[in-house]
């Protein structure tokens, strides 16, 4: 589904991403872990077209996508969320959700003026879908609130819901559960797995919470200083000497 080959990116003197390669199969749920500053977010920004890599190739769904602009990549079905949540605070929760569906009739001026019926019908379908998702995440009663009024955790939820609203083929989630309460996080995990099983969606997720990522992923990549230092099934990574060494004593001590 996604294959990243030898991607490099430096800022000034710092090599944020230093020759990363990943291969992600369709319908896989793949985790990316690594200490702060390892280059995980930068890698995501490169994959999603928000940053141009200095080097390397990225193939998504059989298409070369490095150098393609962010919106065009999103249109191909590769949807990302942001580490620092980017709920649009000046729009209502519902408007945030309705922004996401792609190729809406009402996104063209002529359709708005000349085909108001089609626009309205599609809008109603989207509203229904949005309400169902919001209901599931327990945000439905907040639908008319400005997203700026939500708590940090709620904003992260809204962002995930919004990404799902876009009908992605593949999701890139950057620390989606930071600040989300654990029971709800479990519920979302289940939902993501369900989407994978039923719709064949592929997920690449950065997460700090070890138990969660071990439980969720089929495969894990470990990044450190811009390089992939280990990869494999969760049990393999857990057992990997190098990984343990890299994090021993840090926040990552729990890996043991």
């Amino acid at each position: 589904m996604l294959s990243v080959h030898d991607v490099e990116k430096s800022f000034g003197g710092i090599k944020a991403v230093d020759g990363c390669s990943l291969k992600i199969k369709k319908s896989a749920i793949v985790g990316v872990i690594g200490p702060n500053g390892a280059g995980k977010t930068t890698l995501f920004r490169i994959i999603s077209g928000f940053e141009k890599p200095d080097n390397g190739t990225i193939v998504f769904n059989g298409e070369d996508i490095e150098g393609v602009t962010s919106f065009a990549i999103a249109r191909k079905g590769l949807i990302r969320t942001f580490q620092i949540s980017k709920a649009l605070t000046k729009l209502t929760v519902e408007e945030n959700m309705l922004l996401a569906p792609q190729f809406q009739h009402g996104e063209r001026i002529w359709n708005v003026w000349l085909r108001p019926k089609d626009v309205k019908r599609q809008e109603e379908e989207n509203i229904e879908k949005a309400h169902a998702l919001l209901e599931f995440l327990g945000l439905l009663r907040l639908k008319d609130e400005y997203a700026g009024a939500l708590s940090g955790g709620q904003k992260k939820l809204l962002e995930i819901a919004r990404a799902l609203m876009a009908d992605p083929k593949m999701l890139l989630l950057d620390e989606p559960f930071a600040g989300v309460n654990p029971t709800l996080a479990m519920k979302i995990l289940e939902r993501i797995k369900e989407l994978r099983d039923n719709n064949g969606i592929t997920v690449l997720v950065i997460e700090h919470d070890m138990p969660k990522i071990m439980q969720l992923s089929d495969h894990i990549y470990v990044l450190n200083k811009g390089k992939v230092i280990a990869s494999g099934a969760p049990e393999e990574v857990r057992a990997n000497e190098q990984v343990v060494e890299a994090y021993l004593g840090g926040v990552w001590g729990e890996l043991r």
């Binding site: 919106f71 980017k86 000046k90 729009l91 408007e95 309705l98 922004l99 009402g106 108001p116």
Partner: protein
């Protein structure tokens, strides 16, 4: 009382023309967050194209359409080099463009008759209107204003408008959801410029005689005051803002007799006041009179 009626109608007529002009800016700035400091250029392009084409024999309606189209085209062309870069480049480029258009109008006498200006050849339904033409032009402009307002409201409440508002807040989000941000910004700029062009045609019908002095840089900031005072991103507010502005201007004309200042000084005072007002609103009430505080962000 009745002897004041023509005067009142005239003030309302001008306010309505400027309301249309300002609605164009509100689409760009209020809804999309684009800083256009050269809005007057499109006003001028609309006015001059309409009048010059009509003078050379093109039917009036067609001349107006051409003016609107040319204004839109120029808006789009200015957007191309700037809208992918930082947001202030558009401000710089539009401000320069407006000055260049004005110099062009002043200097290319073969086309525009330079500082002497041009007389309007014909006006809509002029031959059918007995008496004071403004009594017809005012309702006519009012109808155009209402149509513009309704079409814009429809757009703003549509998915298209939602994308604009998302760009205004943080363009990374619509981009991450597959919206072509650049294209939407161009669309907003083109449409806003077209509206300004239309307002320019109407201004020409009111003035009957246009010259480059009608399109000084300050005109742009009249629109800015109307938009910001009424509430950025609120079309009703923009119309209210334009009305307040022109009521205030006509008020200062009455005040002139009681103040010890020359007409030049009064003119300077007025614009000075506009400047102070712009600063005050942005500092203390950025949401304006009718805008919603929750929808406005300072941090841009």
């Amino acid at each position: 009382m009745i002897e004041y009626l023509p005067y009142v109608i005239t003030v309302l007529l001008i306010a309505a023309i400027y309301a249309i002009f300002s609605l164009g800016l509100n689409l760009e700035w209020g809804f999309t967050g684009l800083i256009n400091f050269g809005h007057v250029a499109f006003f001028a392009i609309g006015a001059y194209t309409t009048v010059l084409l009509n003078l050379s024999g093109v039917p009036l309606l067609l001349s107006v359409i051409a003016g609107v189209a040319l204004a839109g085209l120029c808006g789009g062309l200015l957007g191309i080099p700037t809208l992918k870069l930082r947001e202030d480049y558009l401000a710089i480029v539009t401000i320069g463009f407006a000055e260049i258009i004005r110099f062009f109008l002043l200097n290319e006498e073969w086309l525009t008759r330079g500082p002497m200006g041009v007389h309007v050849f014909s006006r809509p339904f002029e031959e059918l209107i007995p008496g004071d033409y403004n009594f017809f032009l005012f309702p006519f402009v009012l109808v155009v204003l209402v149509i513009c307002y309704l079409l814009l409201e429809k757009l703003i409440k549509s998915p298209w408008g939602r994308v604009l508002k998302s760009i205004r807040e943080d363009e990374d989000v619509p981009a991450s959801l597959g919206k072509n941000v650049f294209s939407y910004k161009i669309q907003a700029l083109v449409l806003g410029s077209m509206i300004a062009g239309l307002a320019g045609s109407l201004l020409a019908f009111y003035l009957q005689y246009i010259n480059p002095r009608n399109f000084m840089p300050i005109e742009t900031f009249y629109a800015w005051i109307a938009v910001v005072l009424g509430g950025s991103g609120n079309n009703k507010g923009t119309i209210l803002g334009a009305l307040i502005l022109w009521t205030f201007f006509s008020g200062t004309r009455f005040a002139q007799g009681y103040l010890p200042f020359s007409p030049t000084q009064m003119g300077a005072l007025r614009i000075l006041f506009i400047g102070v007002l712009l600063i005050m609103i942005m500092m203390f009430k950025p949401e304006g009179l009718l805008g919603k505080k929750e929808e406005l962000t300072l941090a841009r």
